[in-house]
Symmetry: C2
Subunit: 318 residues, 2 copies
């Protein structure tokens, strides 16, 4: 089968990915293309493509593949893909990779523990040479809310609960329970989570419904001084509202791994805030090795007529 | 029974402790004394004391209790007590409180994850407005060494292993295995741990044998750029050697919760280093409520002629 890996990646990364995909799909013909018009595959080659595996494909490119029957994203988030008005109406699957979920859980645990143990406050004291123990609740006394109960949200909530935090997970629609995790859903559930979580972790998909969810309204409902960890998408957070909430002490500290413009411009005032921790979209980078295995398994399922894992519902956007 | 709580604590803390001890030992006569000579109990009262529960007792005070038959420390570490040349030759028990071990494990996990996730490096990048993802090993690829397999070391090593780190625990003498934790002991074991641990956690008791253990020799044997978490005692670390190892990049970052002089003087240059995280001896503060219960249970054991938990061997110093 002719599979096109359409990825706007630097040469080295493109090579790593292509090698991993070829190793996981040894019987297929894998063609790599950055989408650069100057080195477009011949029209005949493009016409033969049945499956496209995509990573940041330039808008419009997929529409030129007349034989396309499946689009498989190499990323877990498909918000950028869905923003392409020329996206063909074939099945679209997002990446579901257990390794990615485990990596996210690890990053979330690290940031939640840093907030829980008041590391930013101790750092501020250190800068002033101040020796002052702070009252410290235990993990069991700390409510952590996790927004989004997809693969990454579930893995993160489960790990937080496993080490001892009081965890409540929120999803739009009711979900199966997870061991040790209280579950909430819908608008009432969101009010409950926002109203009680001293540390809030966002792992929602970015959709028209979740865009700007973390704005003034949400911040005002949170306990005073709450911590925020955004590892979802930059578009979930209304940055001017966050800055106002930080200035007012309503949000105590924010950990931001994702931004609407990445890299975050060096001139952005967020960089210089002591009450903001910035990481360069590294919470859970896609690992080409495990991702290629997950993608190959999904393509095999599709060829066998089985259900795709991560099939995107274009109505909900994830 | 007449029990003296001899504690150089501020009035409020002394009151909280005394109340907790009275609640846990309702049938005993609990007398609280800061050791201040101006308000010493009458000689007759002192003569009637059978058990002393001690927290930072001024040196020499215990020697004036002729009827003393047991000293129970309110702290887990007894190095300061053993330094009193007038310490009576009666059984001495250190505090063994499962809550304290759980609290320490939580603190250790937080600091190890912060080092594992390269938070100091990202903070340094943030200060310069630099967006640069760093190669990130997974927890399973990160060797964490834990020095000291007492109650706190065991709880910390077990939690680190539970979340997925590659953990090796070291003790002077061989210990029973812990699930998921490789065990090492003796001088060869120490060489192995120092030589392989990318993050080293010190939870040893302070004894003449462990004083200054973390000095130039140990640092030179560690992998280049290793992280250090010291939640044992300040006396374990040779601070000038640590500064030299940090300056040379041999140690990448040190988290120090304990110091030979506490509070750490405001003039100490450690405060101003970006490659040192200072916390004011807060990794696992003794909780008077759970400690009083553990102490009361130990005194009950002793009264019943059973073995004391945490009986200190004056030869080894713990």
């Amino acid at each position: 089968m002719s599979i096109l890996f359409l990825a706007d990646l630097a040469a080295e990364e493109l090579g790593i990915w292509t090698q991993a995909l070829r190793a996981s799909l040894p019987d297929d013909d894998i063609l790599a293309w950055t989408g650069d018009a100057a080195c477009a595959p011949a029209a005949k080659v493009q016409a033969g493509v049945t499956v496209a595996i995509v990573a940041n494909p330039p808008p419009g490119r997929l529409a030129r593949l007349p034989g396309l029957r499946l689009v498989q994203s190499a990323w877990a988030g498909v918000d950028a893909l869905l923003a392409d008005p020329a996206l063909p109406a074939v099945p679209l699957a997002r990446l579901v990779d257990p390794q990615l979920a485990a990596d996210m859980a690890e990053a979330v645990l690290g940031h939640v523990l840093a907030l829980h143990r008041q590391m930013p406050a101790y750092r501020a004291q250190q800068a002033r040479g101040v020796w002052q123990p702070l009252a410290q609740p235990r993990m069991a006394e700390r409510r952590v809310g996790v927004l989004g109960m997809g693969e990454m949200g579930q893995a993160s909530a489960a790990l937080l609960a496993q080490v001892g935090f009081d965890v409540v997970g929120w999803s739009r629609r009711p979900r199966e329970p997870l061991p040790g995790v209280a579950m909430a859903s819908g608008a009432d559930g969101l009010d409950h989570v926002l109203g009680t979580a001293q540390i809030l972790v966002n792992l929602l998909p970015l959709t028209p419904q979740t865009q700007g969810l973390l704005g003034a309204g949400a911040f005002a409902r949170m306990p005073r001084g709450a911590g925020l960890v955004n590892a979802g998408r930059g578009g979930h957070v209304v940055v001017p509202d966050l800055i106002a909430a930080l200035d007012a002490g309503q949000i105590g500290h924010a950990v931001l791994d994702v931004f609407t413009v990445e890299p975050l411009p060096a001139s952005d005032p967020l960089w210089r805030r002591d009450d903001v921790t910035i990481t360069p979209h590294v919470a859970a980078p896609t690992d080409p090795r495990s991702a290629a295995r997950a993608i190959a398994a999904n393509i095999s399922r599709w060829r066998a007529g089985e259900a795709l894992v991560g099939l995107v519902d274009r109505g909900t956007g994830y």
